[in-house]
């Protein structure tokens, strides 16, 4: 139980750090600086603010789903083994 919750918290902290970096970091605080780079017709900071951050948000949620499903499976297996 303790192990499950601590692993969950570790995953949460990593994913939320990325969440913060792409939106508040690249989209707002570092946005003007990133604007000196370009992808196609977009300035990079502007692209993160209006497009990129949203794509990363989706990837983050599905990464969490994947990691937690794996952890859930491991946890229920451990519990079965202990029970028997």
């Amino acid at each position: 139980m303790d192990y499950y919750w601590k692993t969950n918290l570790k995953i949460l902290i990593c994913l939320l750090a990325i969440w913060f970096l792409v939106s508040f970091g690249f989209g707002i605080l570092l946005s003007d600086w990133l604007d000196q780079f370009r992808i196609g017709g977009f300035k990079l900071g502007f692209w993160f603010a209006q497009q990129g951050s949203i794509y990363v948000f989706i990837i983050l949620i599905f990464t969490y789903v994947y990691l937690m499903n794996k952890l859930d499976k491991k946890f229920s297996k451990d519990r079965e083994e202990k029970g028997s």
Partner: protein
């Protein structure tokens, strides 16, 4: 066929589909009524959540706002999507594991207090009614522009449809109609966007199109837009006007507020398990992102087209849409220099918030505006940002059926959100106030009856908002998000992640968050709107972003008060242990 006939056809067919679905999925029990029997497939729920979330504001107003705000508009794009990461990671799975019917249910049980439950119900009702007022205005605009019926009749028709499927179907009926409404609204949004993207940049993907070069020119669309806006005296389209700290706080308040909105959270109570709740939030964001990544493209296209099609034209040569929207009262032109040419540049065209029209026509045939011109700038055009999405297909000269599709999409967006809000309000009344607090003896059958009555009552109130729209709709949106961020979100989050937080801490936190945030917004938006400027704001944070500060205050007060009072009873820490396990 004319635009009007097409619109009748499209809106008529979509209404028939909604009623048919409602008829097929009637609620039999309170569990059906509140949470659709907890048997909704996570992908289906993702789609329903997307329709539930994307309101008339997302569909009709957002792209227009961004078109005029430029890069500052990113606060809505990031704010209204980033909240789903918080929901999926921090709230949805645990609240689903807890397994009750409503958000106040969790707060009441976790903080072993009916006072906490009632405070949560009050916040919920305020937030939800605020939201509904905006939906009804959306339905009114669409009906009056495209069907040329009276706004009131339009509102009544909309209410009637919602009445049928919300009262009989409950959450179950709403879920499946929302799926249909999502399909209508996303088609209605994407089709014109793809059309316009091809016309302007030859790229069929709008998300890439607004980063491409313009047809017949080597220049990138955004570069041209930057140049044109700067020439007209605006800040360049891809630059911020607002300060960094304000952009930061508004984005944070919208994100946290989104994650704390009861009508969104409750959608995740309808899936079969906690792991489905995580997955479902991911799908919801995919379906939402389809619209939210298209919106900024629509904004850039619209701003460019708008300037191209009216700048320095004579009124008689102005496009048909310009005159149509002037008739509705959402566009006005005041020929400040009397040269007969339309001049659009930065600054307010008129003094006062809205144009007031005289009966007669002016020299060029325009509607005469009684407002004094604002002589500090040369801008002669007043445009309400709400018309951009609706007018865009006309501006780009798309076929009639596309215009009709957009009208049906706008109605779908408004109705799906209104229905979700209504069910949230009615379950808070029948379940939390009646069954759990004041009338614990009623049977399930009676509770179901009361929840239907509460829904009918809430529809009545929402209808009144539609017929007599409060003038302050735009201001109160900041209110809804600010309150969700500063009251509900922190107690939900800490209720899961801290075992030590007790009843005293939670109630003190909610009250401090509520009083601070509501006080700040009321002071600047209602009592002294003339003081609502950068110099007077606390730490230069606007009322739109103050919910973030309210949330921080709530969290600190909760933790401090909890550490000074006795810890929660053993059953509560066991409950928290329980919801943290798979």
């Amino acid at each position: 066929m004319s635009v009007q006939e097409w619109t009748f056809l499209m809106v008529g067919i979509s209404f028939a589909v909604y009623i048919l679905i409602a008829f097929k999925s009637r609620a039999q029990s309170t569990s059906d009524f509140y949470v659709a029997g907890k048997g909704v497939n996570p992908i289906v729920n993702g789609m329903a959540t997307a329709a539930d979330w994307m309101s008339a504001a997302s569909f009709l107003s957002m792209a227009g706002l961004i078109a005029f705000l430029g890069k500052d508009g990113s606060v809505y794009l990031m704010g209204w999507t980033g909240g789903y990461v918080l929901l999926a990671l921090l709230l949805a799975p645990y609240l689903r594991k807890f397994g009750q019917f409503t958000v106040p249910d969790f707060i009441g049980e976790r903080y072993y207090s009916n006072t906490a439950r009632v405070v949560a119900v009050l916040c919920l009702i305020f937030i939800s009614f605020t939201y509904i007022a905006g939906q009804m205005r959306g339905v009114g605009i669409v009906f009056s522009r495209f069907l040329e019926v009276d706004i009131n009749l339009g509102v009544l028709i909309g209410m009637g449809i919602v009445f049928i499927y919300a009262v009989w179907g409950g959450m179950k009926g709403i879920t499946y109609t929302q799926v249909a409404q999502y399909i209508v609204l996303i088609f209605a949004y994407l089709v014109p966007a793809i059309y316009i993207s091809i016309i302007m940049t030859n790229n069929p993907v709008p998300q890439l199109g607004f980063g491409s070069t313009l047809v017949g020119s080597p220049e990138f669309l955004l570069d041209k837009l930057d140049k044109v806006t700067t020439d007209l005296g605006f800040t360049a389209y891809t630059e911020n006007v607002k300060s960094k700290i304000d952009v930061f706080c508004i984005t944070a308040a919208l994100m946290v507020g989104t994650a704390g909105l009861p009508h969104v959270i409750v959608r995740f109570f309808t899936v079969p398990s906690f792991s489905d709740a995580r997955k479902s939030a991911g799908y919801a964001l995919v379906f939402i992102a389809l619209l939210y990544t298209t919106a900024p493209a629509v904004s850039a296209f619209a701003r460019m087209n708008l300037i191209d099609s009216i700048q320095d034209k004579e009124y008689s040569e102005s496009p048909q849409w310009f005159q149509n929207w002037e008739t509705i009262g959402l566009i006005a032109w005041k020929d400040k220099n009397s040269d007969g040419l339309i001049r659009y540049s930065s600054g307010n065209a008129l003094e006062g918030v809205k144009p007031v029209y005289a009966k007669e026509k002016g020299n060029s045939g325009e509607r005469v505006v009684l407002n004094k011109p604002d002589l500090t700038n040369e801008n002669e055009v007043y445009i309400d940002a709400d018309i951009i999405v609706l007018a865009n297909p006309e501006i780009a000269k798309l076929p009639f059926w596309v215009i009709a599709l957009v009208a049906a999409g706008g109605v779908a967006a408004a109705l799906s959100t209104a229905a979700g809000l209504l069910i949230t309000i009615s379950s808070a009344i029948s379940h939390d106030l009646l069954k759990k607090t004041f009338m614990p003896r009623i049977t399930e059958k009676q509770e179901l009856l009361y929840s239907r009555l509460a829904t009918a009552f809430a529809i009545g109130v929402a209808g009144l908002f539609g017929v007599y729209p409060p003038a302050f709709v735009a201001q109160v949106v900041a209110f809804a998000f600010g309150l969700a961020a500063s009251t509900l979100f922190p107690v939900l989050l800490l209720g899961i992640f801290s075992k030590r937080l007790n009843k005293e801490g939670a109630i003190a936190g909610m009250l401090v968050g509520l009083i601070f945030t509501a006080g700040y917004i009321i002071y600047f938006k209602f009592m002294f709107p003339e003081l609502d400027t950068l110099d007077n704001w606390l730490f230069s944070i606007s009322p739109e972003g103050i919910g973030f500060v309210g949330m921080l205050l709530n969290v600190s007060v909760s933790l401090i008060v909890s550490s000074l009072t006795s810890p929660p009873p053993k059953e509560v820490s066991m409950m928290v242990e329980e919801i943290r396990q798979p």
